[in-house]
Amino acid sequence: MSGEQKRLATAQASYAEAVRAERLARIAAAPDLRTAGRRRRASLRLLAAAATLTGIAVLAIAIAGVLATQSAQRGLDRAAAARDGAVAAISTMLSADPAKPDEYVDRVLAVTTGEQHERLSAARGELRGAIAELGAVSTGHVISAGVENPSGEPVEGSVPVVVVAQASAPELVGGLAGTDRVALRVTVVQSGDRWLISGTERVS
């Protein structure tokens, strides 16, 4: 055997040995690799499950937030509309022309409802007479108005509004004659898309 052939044989033998060693190592490592694979799949699935649960929980919170905010916005809109209704109605009640008492009574009846409407209807004649006896055209306007207890649940759909008005005849809304400013607590009730007064009470 020449030296050349000897080297070749040695090389082939060590190559075969290396291949066998590699195969043995592979076989030896297989269970560990399989275990690692199983672990990886398990953790990925667990992660996916956790992500699903978290996603659902966060979505639920977001939906609850939308509902709560919509209801808060409705409350704000309602309070603003009630306030505007009270301002408009009180301005109407404070503006009277003794020459046109019937017109006044009709306008006031149109902005009131419930108990106050009934009371004014019943006293229509007296109210008409009182307007006709006013010495001059009476005017008035609301200086400031705010919703009382805005977070409170409305009692039977009514909203209390505090109003301060400037009036030449404050007695038209229950104020004291001879003064020019009157503070009122007005109860307004929604009727269709309008807000009407169901009660006025002087605050003092």
Binding site: L59, T69, A72, S144, P150, A183, R185, V203, S204
Partner: protein, 169 residues
């Protein structure tokens, strides 16, 4: 742990498994996005509601605190009034706050009767306060009157401070 669950978790990977993971990721991303969007959208509305609620509670007592005083504790009462308002308003009213008690008056007491919220925004708002004002003379006689003020408030460090006041009645 339950063996059946472990086996299912460790089962070979399939197209279905990839699909499930993708759906889970999308759901989580959607949830977080919705949460952030809703949070940003609701913040100003929630703040307005909160201001309205707090002012309807606090406006009356703050106005009473600022305007009530008794001659026996005049300096302390004025100091308390100053601490219930913004520094700007306190310096605008400095002259009035430094006054000595009016002659013959033992105490002035504001008793809020009605409080209406006129305007509410984030950290600021306006309330209409109607109060009975009882003035007690040194001889013990009392006189009551109704007063109305619109009062502006700002929130500072978790407290509401009077920032402006307008006497209406």
């Amino acid at each position: 742990m339950n063996v059946a669950i472990v086996r299912r978790l460790e089962a070979p990977w399939q197209t279905r498994s990839t699909l499930g993971t993708v759906i889970a990721a999308v759901l989580l991303a959607l949830g977080i996005a919705a949460f952030v969007v809703v949070g940003v959208w609701r913040a100003p509305i929630a703040e307005r509601v909160e201001t309205a609620e707090e002012l309807s509670q606090r406006a009356g007592p703050i106005v009473a605190e600022v305007f009530s005083a008794s001659s026996a504790s005049w300096a302390a009462d004025r100091a308390r009034a100053r601490s219930a308002m913004t520094p700007e308003l306190a310096s605008a009213l400095a002259a009035g706050l430094a006054n000595t008690p009016p002659a013959g008056v033992r105490s002035v007491r504001w008793e809020p009767v009605s409080v209406g919220v006129v305007d509410a925004a984030r950290g600021a708002g306006t309330a209409l306060v109607v109060a009975d004002v009882v003035v007690t003379q040194t001889d013990g006689t009392q006189a009551a009157d109704t007063k109305s003020v619109t009062a502006d408030f700002v929130e500072s460090g978790g407290r509401w401070l009077l920032s402006g006041v307008d006497e209406l009645q």
